[in-house]
């Protein structure tokens, strides 16, 4: 009994500060503490991915940490990453695009059709199709003043339906040799299948990532993205034609979706009706895991890469570790909440909607 009381009276003395001091860390509310916390917050995506890799290495050993598996991870990340890039452009302006998954399915199919019609360079048709969807998104959203969520939700539904109509549910296959069976719609393009494999797929993605980084960090366009997410009204008052800019942003996002669909076509070797279903959610999750706030104004290409990679590694690692599928989903959901909870600076946020 007595010792119980003693313990209780001891508790108030064990303040946060002393605990931090004991760990050799500065008090989190002091100036140097705040710098430390901010630095931690900025680096959450990098810390998270390191921990995730170490964890799966520990659990699954060489099965996870093998050249073979990392080759697969390098193949599994690009489509998601390119979609996350599309999402990053839109999210930075404070909007959201949930039509990217449907758009991916649609434009991959259009790319395949383009190649059927016009030969190898016909894949451009897919890129244009994706940009067209982007332009439509942007135009409806900015001119009719319908929120981007609602606009792109409608587009998610419509574009998938258009894909079903255009394709009649039939797949178009990519093959590396002439097809003998005339009932199968297929295009012969070995180079495309090669592009879908390691290492070409990695080179391509790195190139896109570097170019996007330059656009995002160094150009007037990239700067305006963040400004639009920061305060749209001020931009309007300075005479910047915000509507036109929003259309450009969604078109640029559409272009990224076009690249993603092209890579998806290369990697999966076929354009199917279901391609990209639910991928919009993974794309948003990757952006969020990369520490980008969904309310706009801030963002990072590099951290989005880390976010997409983390998401892929976790899905891959959990399967290899033999975690049952439903538990694996719970783990992925929790990871998302924890990572974002740590990386958010709640003092900067007034209202959460």
């Amino acid at each position: 009994m007595a010792s119980d009381v003693e313990k209780k009276t001891m508790l108030p003395n064990m303040e946060n500060r002393t605990l931090m001091a004991r760990l050799g860390l500065p008090n989190w509310d002091s100036p140097e503490g705040r710098v430390w916390v901010n630095r931690l917050r900025d680096n959450v995506p990098f810390i998270a991915i390191t921990l995730v890799i170490l964890l799966f290495w520990f659990i699954s050993g060489d099965r996870f940490m093998s050249v073979r598996n990392w080759t697969f991870i390098a193949q599994q990340t690009p489509v998601l990453l390119l979609l996350a890039f599309a999402q990053l452009l839109v999210v930075t302006t404070g909007s959201i695009d949930i039509s990217v998954g449907s758009n991916l399915g649609f434009s991959a199919y259009m790319a395949a059709l383009g190649m059927l019609w016009f030969g190898e360079l016909g894949f451009i048709v897919g890129i244009f199709a994706a940009m067209l969807i982007g332009v439509l998104n942007g135009a409806i959203f900015s001119l009719f003043k319908i929120s981007s969520f609602v606009t792109t939700l409608a587009m998610l539904i419509i574009v998938r339906a258009v894909l079903v109509i255009v394709s009649d549910g039939r797949s178009i296959y990519v093959s590396d040799q002439p097809m003998s069976n005339s009932n199968i719609t297929s295009i012969e393009a070995k180079w495309l299948l090669d592009l879908g494999q390691f290492p070409q797929i990695l080179y391509f993605t790195v190139l896109v990532a570097v170019l996007l980084w330059i656009v995002y960090e160094k150009t007037v366009f990239g700067q305006q993205l963040k400004a639009l997410g920061g305060n749209e009204k001020v931009l309007r008052l300075t005479g910047i034609s915000v509507n036109w800019f929003k259309i450009q942003v969604f078109a640029a996002a559409g272009f990224m979706v076009g690249l993603a669909s092209f890579i998806n076509l290369a990697r999966s070797g076929a354009a199917t009706v279901q391609a990209g279903e639910m991928l919009e959610l993974d794309a948003i999750a990757a952006v969020a895991l990369g520490g980008t706030v969904l309310t706009g104004g801030y963002g990072s290409v590099l951290k989005t890469v880390v976010g997409a990679l983390t998401l892929t590694i976790v899905a891959n690692g959990l399967t290899i570790a033999g975690v049952p599928p439903s538990w694996s989903r719970i783990a992925r959901g929790l990871l998302l909440i924890i990572a974002i909870a740590i990386s958010l600076n709640r003092k900067q946020i007034d209202v959460v909607k």
Binding site: S60, R63, F64, S66, R68, N69, F72, Q75, Q76, V79, R160, V164, D168, G169, R170, S171, Y173, M179, S180, N181, N183, I184, L193, Q197, N264, R267, S268, G269, A270, T272, V273, Q274, A275, G276, E277, M278, A315, N316, T319, I320, G322, P324, P325, S326
Partner: protein, 353 residues
């Protein structure tokens, strides 16, 4: 063109048998059809075969789909009922949704029949209404069992699978059949379960993860539900150079047939989409005053391997499986001696004779 040809042929063949009719066939019938969206090859096949039946029997069809949503399943059924069709064929998305559609049919006195999934497990014991005249089912257990048996017969013992999540109840029944067979062989085991929304892309992803997880000799085969994901898995294995792993799948389209012919796939099983057409014939007879004989016929799927793939492709993948004449021949309206129940039961054994 082929369809047109079949149609012409049908009209020409109609003449000699028409004097044998028991009753005057109605030519004004309108059937409603409710199912899932055309994002799956088998849904398209279902519609294709139903269209053949509709032509042979002079039925007009109104098609609707439920976008894979329970609530839309019911509301679409209501919209269809508002059009006052003579009968309805529906594939319940889930049993509860199906039960609601059945109640709707009873209230509006419209005869209906399920095709594919069921409303109640045992129609004669559990169903009290009169307008849901029967359930044209698929033998799900036998379906799964056939897939597993094919794997076992090929000498595979270490088996992984790629399936729907557990909340998709019907596919659980299929898996139960597979599991039952695997359990019969003490040396056979399911070494890993992957459950996800099934698409070509998820098929690829899981196959790659299994390849990373299991070295040569640690895995013999992957059983994949549905050809779309199955072809994805097989594509990934091919890309990874793992010819030691076999893919067993279900549904057969031109691409699956080609791969079976090429020896890339050893086995698939299909034809369950014929149920919709058979349900139409049941309802057609019922509307002409013939009571239903077997309220819960089960269609057994057709196993396909290298030995019969050419025949299957010839008969099932081009035009109509049955000629208009053959279709009318299993309706009692045209043929008083027709034995529809027997035909359905034996079709998987007799189709290739």
């Amino acid at each position: 063109m082929k369809r047109f040809f079949h149609g012409v042929l049908g009209i020409m063949m109609l003449a000699p048998i028409s004097f044998a009719e028991a009753v005057t066939p109605r030519k004004d019938l309108v059937f409603a059809d409710l199912g899932q969206p055309q994002t799956n090859p088998w849904v398209i096949n279902r519609h294709r075969f139903q269209e053949c039946v509709a032509r042979a029997l002079n039925i007009e069809q109104i098609l609707a789909d439920d976008e894979n949503s329970e609530s839309k399943h019911v509301s679409q059924a209501e919209s269809l009922v508002a059009r006052q069709p003579d009968a309805m064929v529906f594939n319940p998305l889930t049993s509860p949704a199906g039960a609601q559609v059945a109640r709707l049919l009873e209230r509006n006195r419209i005869p209906g029949m399920t095709a594919g999934r069921v409303v109640v497990a045992d129609y004669d014991k559990e169903y009290n209404g009169q307008f849901l005249i029967g359930q044209m089912g698929t033998n799900l257990d036998a379906w799964g069992a056939a897939m597993a048996q094919a794997a076992i017969d090929d000498g595979h013992r270490k088996i992984a699978m790629i399936w729907n999540p557990k909340d998709v109840i019907t596919t659980q029944y299929i898996w139960a059949g597979a599991q039952r067979v695997i359990d019969k062989y003490p040396d056979a085991e399911v070494i890993m379960e992957g459950r996800d929304r099934l698409s070509r892309e998820t098929g690829i992803k899981y196959a790659e993860q299994y390849v990373a997880r299991f070295g040569e000799g640690e895995i013999d085969a992957i059983i994949v539900l549905g050809a779309t994901a199955g072809l994805g898995a097989q594509f990934a294995l091919e890309q990874a150079g793992r010819t030691d792993i076999d893919v067993i799948t279900c549904d057969i389209d031109e691409q699956v047939a080609q791969n079976i012919r090429d020896g890339k796939l050893s086995f698939s099983i299909g034809g369950h989409w014929m149920g919709g057409g058979f349900a139409m014939i049941h309802l057609y007879d019922y509307l002409h005053g013939f009571p239903i004989e077997d309220t819960q016929p089960d269609f057994s799927l057709i196993p396909v391997n290298a030995s019969n793939v050419d025949a299957y492709e010839r008969q099932f993948l081009n035009g109509c499986v049955l000629t208009p004449n053959e279709i009318r021949n299993i309706s009692r309206v045209y043929n008083p001696d027709a034995d529809l129940a027997g035909f359905i039961e034996n079709f998987s054994n007799t189709w290739n004779d």
